[in-house]
């Protein structure tokens, strides 16, 4: 498979339009060969989620995504019973349903983690657990157990174990520190903002046919904003790409300062950049 070398991983991602630096390619390669989950951290908009998407496309795997949110629990992540249908079945049978039948697969709602565990071993799976920092400690503790044996237990049905370990990516925005035990179980990679050179390549890869001068201009402007150091929220790679698209759509009358709202989403930041003429000469 392509992921068996660092270069292979790098090429596979590049073929999907994701330009990874060597450390990231190394991390992905290791995650695949060691069958260990990979924890990706980084500022918003540096393309953490995108890694999973590109990886799944590159390996022909199915991408299963679990978006974490506040208050997420087992029934959001693993399975739930379809209670509405159970009640209907109960009433239709006028009580003549036994419990075993009621808690059978017919009424089981499969959530992402159960999906990943039950996946066909012939078809690889990339499991993305997105924004794990939004979940709470209890869910993190459950996840720790899940990631170590890739099995889930449903009291009414028994334990179901994965026949093939998926590649697992976790992302975190660092709104809180994750538990050490979870970190220890994972490989770790910090995704930084790309260098201007690489960011230009990313724009070119993601927007085929964008003129060289627009890509250069946008990348230079974004670099200025990130260097400025006095902004609340810095633009990510996602913003760079959208900005390039905006300039492309506007054609000749495009001005960076007029389209600043594409890159900066905090009012004070926009004012500051305009006042101080940060983008002058770009």
């Amino acid at each position: 498979m392509q992921l068996e070398s660092v270069q292979g991983a790098s090429d596979a991602l590049a073929a999907q339009g994701y330009l990874a630096d060597r450390q990231l390619a190394m991390a992905v390669h290791l995650a695949a060969v060691l069958e260990q989950p990979l924890l990706l951290e980084g500022e918003a908009g540096v393309g953490k989620t995108e890694v999973a998407r590109a990886l799944a496309a590159a390996t022909g795997a199915r991408l299963i995504r679990l978006q974490c949110h506040e208050g997420i629990d087992l029934h959001h992540a693993v399975y739930d019973w379809d209670y509405a249908r159970q009640l209907l079945a109960l009433r239709a049978a006028e009580g003549g349903v036994d419990e075993g039948e009621l808690f059978s697969r017919r009424f089981l709602l499969r959530r992402p983690l159960l999906d990943a565990v039950e996946a066909d071993p012939e078809l690889p799976v990339v499991l993305l657990i997105d924004e794990i920092d939004r979940a709470d400690d209890e869910f993190e503790a459950f996840l720790l157990e899940f990631l170590s044996d890739f099995a889930v237990t449903i009291p009414e049905l028994g334990t179901i174990a994965a026949r093939r370990r998926p590649i697992v990516l976790l992302t975190s925005n660092r709104t809180r520190e994750l538990h050490d035990a979870l970190k220890r179980r994972c490989l770790y990679h910090w995704i930084d903002y790309p260098s201007p050179e690489r960011e230009r390549q990313i724009v070119a890869a993601r927007l085929p046919g964008v003129p060289e001068e627009i890509a250069t201009r946008v990348v230079a402007a974004v670099a200025r904003l990130r260097e400025h150091g006095d902004l609340y929220k810095l633009p990510g790679v996602g913003e760079t790409i959208v900005w390039a698209r905006a300039l492309l759509a506007l054609g000749d009358e495009a001005s960076l300062e007029e389209t600043l709202g594409v890159a900066l989403k905090v009012h004070e930041d926009v004012l500051r950049v305009l006042e101080r003429g940060v983008l002058e000469g770009v």
Partner: protein, 368 residues
């Protein structure tokens, strides 16, 4: 024996430990199994039965001493407590109950606050005038205060007996199995409460030096007591000290924090510090936190910057509280430039110069 035991449970309940009839029966049973002439055995046995959380242990020790007497009472005093002066001893927790052997009525819950009133002297004393011994004594009280924290409603729910907003379909289905498939008994779930994120930002510049030690103790106790707390210190620049303050060992934690903060007792640039907080740690603070700034507002930085940064911080926070030791003075007016810029953006301005004012902070946070 049973009477003493019920005295003990009464004291425990008055302190807030949950002791039910089950625990009481368990205690009676376990006392049958141990040598009741040994004070130590009784203590350890009761401790096992009556405590169910780490926080209970300490309360149990106090209650046990109150009811069964202090074993050191008659012994030679070479312990450090004996060397303390009168005021210091006043702070030692005491529980005011009738002589348990007198056997009148069980002590009522009212007795406890009355006993605490002996602490009044130290409670109101300004931190700047504390002696080292007093600081050591106040530590326990501060740790107690630090355990009181703001909460918020969570999106997690739990089963409830009351009629609530969210139907509990799982339990309703199970219940309907008992009524022939007819969902006669509906079940409900209600949201749980979670600790709200708390961010403590302490000024350690020269003018705050008399208070910084006690306030750092409070920060350490807060970080040690629970998760979802972030601690920062600033003088001319901001340092995150959450990780340094973590861990139960009090002295080590404070040493580590002091080593991390390079600008102790220097100048102050509050605006720059808050700016750093907004930018470098904006995600960590997140939205909906209670932010407590501990500073006297003597600022050598740019008031305009402070104004703008406070406005930003206020928008991201749930509540913004400013503790200013100078505000303890009855005639205090926020005249310092820094305070003038900051006050319009704060929800509450408290003193934070004594145990009493930290207690006030704790009560305010619990209401948030």
């Amino acid at each position: 024996m049973v009477r003493r035991l019920s005295d003990l449970t009464a004291v425990l309940r008055a302190q807030g430990t949950r002791v039910g009839v089950g625990e009481l029966l368990g205690a009676v049973r376990c006392l049958r199994e141990v040598d009741c002439s040994s004070r130590e055995e009784v203590r350890l046995a009761l401790r096992t039965v009556l405590c169910s959380a780490r926080a209970d242990l300490e309360r149990f020790e106090l209650a046990f001493t109150a009811v069964y007497g202090d074993e050191r009472a008659g012994l030679e005093r070479d312990d450090p407590l004996a060397q303390l002066g009168q005021i210091e001893r006043a702070v030692m927790p005491r529980v005011g109950i009738a002589d348990p052997r007198g056997g009148d009525a069980a002590p009522d819950a009212e007795a406890v606050p009355a006993a605490w009133s002996e602490v009044e002297l130290l409670r109101e004393k300004d931190f700047a005038r504390y002696t080292d011994d007093e600081m050591a004594l106040a530590r326990e009280l501060i740790a107690r205060l630090a355990r009181r924290h703001p909460t918020r409603l969570s999106r997690r729910t739990r089963a409830t007996r009351r009629r609530a907003e969210v139907p509990d379909l799982r339990r309703t289905v199970h219940a309907s199995l008992r009524t022939g498939g007819e969902p006669l008994h509906r079940r409900w779930r209600e949201p749980t409460r979670r600790p709200r994120q708390l961010v403590l930002v302490c000024d350690v510049s020269g003018s705050m030096a008399p208070y910084a030690r006690m306030l750092m103790q409070y920060m350490h106790a807060s970080v040690a007591a629970r998760r979802r707390v972030e601690a920062f210190a600033f003088g001319t620049r901001l340092t995150r000290i959450t990780q340094e303050l973590a861990g139960r060992d009090h002295d080590h934690a404070l040493e580590r924090a002091a080593a991390a903060v390079t600008d102790f007792s220097g100048g102050t640039r509050i605006g720059a510090a808050i700016a750093e907080l907004n930018r470098a740690h904006g995600r960590r603070i997140g939205r909906g936190a209670v932010i407590v700034i501990l500073s006297d507002g003597w600022d050598r930085g740019d008031p305009e910057q402070l104004d703008a940064e406070m406005a930003r911080l206020r928008r991201a926070a749930h509540r913004l509280v400013w503790l200013n030791p100078l505000a303890a003075h009855p005639d205090y007016q926020p005249l310092a430039r820094g305070m003038q810029a900051a006050v319009p953006h704060t929800d509450r301005l408290l003193a934070g110069n004594s145990l009493a004012s930290l207690e006030q902070l704790a009560s305010i946070m619990e209401e948030m």
